[in-house]
């Protein structure tokens, strides 16, 4: 079972993600801020992280850079209410980008795609 870390400052969104992704067969751990996310990362390993870009007074992009530096083997999907960050150079570090929607199909597809790619890489080294 893949272990996912969901970082979003909205409690209801964390709850929605947790419920929906659990239904998809993932183990989901949530965090409300960058610092909480770092704590969770120290507590255990994750197969993938889903990050919101706007985290109250913090930036999800900063957290992304930190994760890429420290946990370069863990893929990250950015999830944002804005589509404009898709063209932001700094957001290109992420493995996927999804615009928030009540229909989580796209997010679920993206998680499956990124995890499959990670598994393929682990298997073939490419």
């Amino acid at each position: 079972m893949s272990r996912l870390l969901v970082v979003d400052d909205e409690a209801n969104i964390r709850l929605l993600y947790a419920e929906e992704l659990k239904d998809e067969g993932y183990e989901v751990v949530t965090a409300a801020s960058s610092s909480e996310a770092v704590e969770k990362l120290h507590e255990g390993s994750f197969d993938l992280a889903v990050l919101d870009i706007k985290l109250k007074n913090e930036s999800g992009i900063d957290l992304l850079q930190k994760l890429v530096k420290e946990r370069h083997d863990m893929p990250v999907i950015l999830c944002s209410a804005f589509s404009c960050y898709k063209d932001d150079f700094s957001a290109w570090l992420a493995d996927g980008y999804v615009v928030k929607s009540g229909d989580l199909t796209e997010l679920k597809q993206e998680i499956a795609r990124v995890l499959a790619k990670k598994a393929q890489k682990a298997k073939t080294g490419v």
Partner: protein, 541 residues
């Protein structure tokens, strides 16, 4: 002594004096005046005087001496009067010329006056005048304007006309400018063109005269060592005058004047008068040229001021738009999260509720409405993005292939077949790639409800004049032109046709970039979208 002459009679008859002519009858009774004006030239009086000498009258030889001196002084006075009359006329002419030249800042008008003055009988009466102007930018002395008849027939016609009309200098010049300037330009065009000389050619006689700042009278031009044979051949005269036009120490130009028709000799007095005339003409030409330049600069400054004002307006507008964009974006963000939560949980509940649940239709309504609102939110965010198009040169094929690739999953899942026929050697197009991609995706995936059996979309591109024409033929949509037109109007009520919001936004976005977007509907064949992409970088509309 018998007297042959009537000099000693108080009153005489007309036949008594051979010197009194028509209109001088009053002298018949004015003895003193008649003696002074007529007798001294009269052969009869001289005969009487000789008889007096023969009779040894001692006063006779003295009187003869007095008469000789009187005659000499009379001729001298007549000559001086004639000279003064000429000078008075010349002064009047210069005064008239000066008034006309000073009142004009139009180069053509000044030149018309100057050349008319040289050739008019009331002026210097030369047969032909050619004006050459010095251009410091090109470093050339170039033929600019000529005036004068080409042959004796034309000369007679022109001179008769002038005599009949009896015009003053200003009227003559105005007449020349309005009626003759273009034809004279055409007449002398070839000659003037060949009279162009580099200012650096110090050996050329024109440049020598210009640098020497003094007129040069050229005689025996065909044998003259300083006159190039081709110049003598071009002018076709043996004698001509070169009159440099100088202001302060600046070389303005040159007048070449001659009497190519009458072959009247050019006198020292002509040269002196023309030299005097040259100064005001040179100043007037310089002033008119400076005024022209000033006018050009003024137009530039006015244009720059206008552009600056436009830029200021644009900055203010952009600041306003940026503010609107930031507000829109902030609202959209605040709305999207709750919307996502409502829609997400509604979907979750729907997924877990049995088909028989009577409340299922309520949850379905919540899901539909949140979908609709999310669509509106996307439109708003896309619109706020569209306020700032970032244009550059892009490859059309890349644009189409990206849009097709982005839409592939959606279209394949709906059973669509797509194809692209690229044109040959397409030039890059000047567009906002992101906005154009959005528009193509929207056109490909638009949710117009009425679907036919033919689920095919064919894209083609071809080169046009300064553009690439992109056509998207969507055979799947069956809709009338009226309904399609409604979809192209923002915020019109089109829910019966599907949300269709994207098409109106596409049209707005493209029009903001100055890109024509045409959508033509045919109930049988579907919809053809034509997008004309510019290949040239032009100013933002």
């Amino acid at each position: 002594m018998d007297q042959e002459c009537c000099w000693n009679r108080d009153v005489i008859e007309k036949d008594d004096c051979p010197k009194i002519g028509q209109g001088e009858e009053d002298l018949l009774a004015l003895k003193r005046q008649r003696n002074l004006e007529k007798c001294c030239d009269c052969p009869r009086f001289m005969k009487d005087l000789k008889s007096m000498c023969d009779d040894n009258n001692p006063l006779a030889p003295v009187l003869i001496d007095f008469l000789a001196e009187y005659s000499r002084q009379k001729i001298q006075i007549q000559s001086l009067v004639s000279f003064l009359d000429n000078k008075t006329l010349e002064m009047r002419f210069f005064h008239e010329l000066g008034s006309v030249l000073q009142s004009s800042v139009d180069l053509d008008e000044v030149l018309s006056v100057a050349l008319t003055a040289i050739t008019a009988g009331k002026g210097f009466g030369m047969n032909r005048a050619l004006l050459l102007l010095a251009d410091r930018e090109t470093g050339m002395l170039s033929g600019y304007l000529g005036i004068g008849p080409k042959n004796i027939e034309e000369a007679s016609q022109v001179w008769d006309e002038i005599v009949q009309n009896d015009m003053d200098l200003q009227t003559l010049a105005q007449n020349f400018r309005l009626n003759k300037l273009s034809s004279e330009r055409a007449k002398f065009h070839d000659l003037l063109e060949q009279l162009t000389v580099p200012l650096s050619n110090k050996d050329h006689i024109l440049i020598k005269a210009l640098d020497g700042k003094l007129p040069i009278m050229v005689e025996s031009a065909f044998q003259h060592p300083d006159v190039p044979p081709e110049m003598a051949r071009l002018l076709g005269v043996d004698t001509f005058l070169l009159m440099p036009l100088i202001t302060r120490n600046r070389r303005i130009g040159m007048i070449i004047a001659d009497n190519c028709i009458t072959h009247r000799s050019i006198t020292e007095e002509d040269i002196h008068s023309l030299e005097t005339f040259g100064f005001p003409v040179a100043f007037a030409i310089e002033r008119a040229s400076l005024y022209d330049k000033l006018q050009i600069e003024l137009n530039r400054v006015t244009e720059a001021g206008k552009k600056l004002k436009e830029q200021q307006d644009l900055i203010v507008r952009m600041e306003n738009m940026a503010l609107v964009g930031r507000i829109t974006s902030s609202i959209a963000h605040s709305v999207r999260n709750p919307l996502m939560i409502i829609g997400g949980f509604a979907r979750s509940m729907l997924k877990n509720s049995p088909e028989s649940d009577p409340k299922r239709s309520f949850i379905e309504s919540i899901v539909d409405e949140t979908d609709q609102l999310e669509g509106v939110l996307d439109e708003i965010l896309n619109y706020s993005d569209s306020l700032y198009p970032t244009r550059d040169f892009w490859d059309v094929n890349q644009l189409v292939e990206t849009a097709l690739s982005d839409s592939a999953d959606t279209l394949t899942s709906l059973g669509y077949a797509t194809g692209y026929a690229p044109g040959h050697d397409l030039p890059p197009v000047y567009i906002d790639f992101k906005q154009l991609s959005y528009c193509l995706r929207t056109v490909l995936q638009n949710d117009i409800n009425v679907i036919s059996n033919d689920l095919s979309i064919v894209i083609s591109s071809q080169s046009g004049e300064d553009c690439v024409i992109l056509r998207i033929d969507d055979h799947s949509r069956q809709i009338s032109q009226t309904e399609l037109d409604r979809l192209l109007v923002p915020f019109s009520e089109t829910r019966d046709l599907g949300t269709g919001l994207g098409l109106a936004l596409c049209k707005t976005m493209l029009e903001k970039q100055g890109i024509p977007f045409v959508a033509q509907a045919d109930v049988q064949d579907g919809i053809r979208y034509t997008i004309t992409l510019p290949t040239r970088k032009e100013e933002q509309p």
